[in-house]
Symmetry: C2
Subunit: 411 residues, 2 copies
Amino acid sequence: MEMVRIDVGQRSETVRRANLSSIARELHAHGPLSRSELVTATGLTRSAIRGLIGEFVAAGLVTEERAAPLGTPGRPSTVVRLRPEQTVVLALEISVDSIAAAIVGLGGVVLARARAERPRGHTSVDDIVADLAALVAELEVGHPWRQASIGIGVAVVGVVRRTDGCVSMAPNLGWRDEPLGTRLARALVTTDRIDVANEADLGALAEHRRGAAVGASNVAFISGEVGVGGGLIVDGRPLTGAAGYAGEIGHIPLDPDGLPCRCGSVGCWETRVGEEALLRLAGLPEDGGHAAVDAVIRDAEAGDPRAVAAFEEVGRWLGIGLAGLVNVLDPELVVLGGRFARIHPHIVGSMAAQLERRALPAPRSLVRVVPAELGVDAPLIGAAELAFEPFLSDPATWLAIRAGRPQLASA
Amino acid sequence: MEMVRIDVGQRSETVRRANLSSIARELHAHGPLSRSELVTATGLTRSAIRGLIGEFVAAGLVTEERAAPLGTPGRPSTVVRLRPEQTVVLALEISVDSIAAAIVGLGGVVLARARAERPRGHTSVDDIVADLAALVAELEVGHPWRQASIGIGVAVVGVVRRTDGCVSMAPNLGWRDEPLGTRLARALVTTDRIDVANEADLGALAEHRRGAAVGASNVAFISGEVGVGGGLIVDGRPLTGAAGYAGEIGHIPLDPDGLPCRCGSVGCWETRVGEEALLRLAGLPEDGGHAAVDAVIRDAEAGDPRAVAAFEEVGRWLGIGLAGLVNVLDPELVVLGGRFARIHPHIVGSMAAQLERRALPAPRSLVRVVPAELGVDAPLIGAAELAFEPFLSDPATWLAIRAGRPQLASA
């Protein structure tokens, strides 16, 4: 339980702030809601809801309208609707094969989005930041986001120190200790808050808020790309660890005398289930990328024994590692994302057999393993959710700031 | 952030309850405190503190006294002191080699304690429950705890479903799906709340509240006994998982084609670092128990190469598994408990080398690995803390119940 330490003087202001936050979260998560639905969802009284909604309306963040009559008698309830273009975030993603940007309105409405392929391999932080800034400049032409912006979220394929947006290590990009947040702020010419996080952590957040894991409280999200990343949800909250480095599940040593890993260790899980492992098993060049993975899928679907066996072996090691995570974390749900969602039908059999063999009966009997729902954009959607978080936790502060600002012309 | 959903009518009662909880937690954690220290610790006003302490005094749970003058001018502050014998829990432990019981007063004061050896191996739940009841009956002679009891906590070497105190699996005892909580209630002839949890989880709780991990928010507690158990603290709270099964770190498959594990799987971590692995490496019978482990320690201290090598190999595998946990959880602190605390000097070198090699640089640079402080009683102390939790979360309810009860004669 979070402690509530409230003294008489601060009491009503603290309560007002918490209640504004409850309402903002409900509307952000569930879309337009009637006042009655907000009463049910928040436990607040009808009159309290009316007053709090009034504050959002005055700031131009929501509208209220009479619901269309449904043929039932009685007064129609008022529907409360966010105005997504009034409160937006910029979401950015730096992945192995591509970069992406999106302008996302409150409620998770994607107002504009762009993705550009990038060649694999080491790239300087200068080049990537410049490419992202160019992508944002393109989006900006049709969607002037800056005046309504409440923050920027960034997903990156690397280990990130959350406190300052420094990328401690990104082997796929060749980065060590790169101050990505600071560099982006300069390139985008902004003083907005910038939150940077690992792309698998944000994929997990996205699937939890808007995908396969909605409503689940204990979730392991496992994302297979070139490497293997993870994002963990514990008691409904992202597990960040002491400094935001948690979730590097691809680097559990499951085969300690095995193959060298790009992290410098030996026999990490990703040396057995990453893209290179699959391609090696299928007899293809390890650096074949997307196209080669697609070829293995086609071959397996055509019944080619080597492709089928390659998937079975990847599935076997996926199940071995999953069993360890299930025993340690007792999740109710495991979500397989990235490449794993795509190859799920081909690996599920051998994976399930290992899970059955190696997970303890009690946690195994409870856990479901499902493919992710949000596809390639999951980390980008998660980056937006990350950027919304300060607003959702304390909309009152933003209402106060907004009160000093003119409303947008587009309103 | 936990949501605060408080409406006008409930507001002051909710705040009172939360504030009583804050004060109870401070006194329980830190012992006698002056009113000034309580003001600092809780952020409440002096007058609010006075009123709330008054409630505890009226219920007979605390006393107030003038602090002895310290030669400084000004009014001496009033010291608030718990009366441990007024609010007690019964703590029980079922371990591989022994059973134990303690009567513990609020503030963590052990009022009475007893431990009895038990032979290793499978034992019926009937026999163990009867032995525990006999141990409690002995304690009870000198310490009539029942009238002041607020609950019972039980630590057991097994996988526990927290919701109903059912032991899903305890390979060391030979139990499957045993309703331990219910059986204990009957044997002890009590209607007190009984909370049952895994002994390593409770060892972690104890080290976090009163041992090596006080003040740390992200902790992995790793307990080596016959098997290997774990308890994880995430953001200051125990990680229980979806059904309370989390923390079974001994069953991470680190050596998937290795030795059979007592859980039914193959190559679990504990097959490499458990007591049997150490004894096997040292050339002793695997079932030699405590005495044999003591012999290996003596041999290693005398420089016997086989004993030294056995510890090095156990340390190596301990470091391999630790690296995986550090990469997944990013803890600030790893606490080595149980047998691992005892053999720590002999394993720390090879363990640290593997951690250095296999943990990612960022989380590795932050984590400290230390031996546990509470020794063999850690799970018993954790069982007491578990039983105090409902009171600490909401002392107001207990004050109301207490108001209907006569005060104890021993008061």
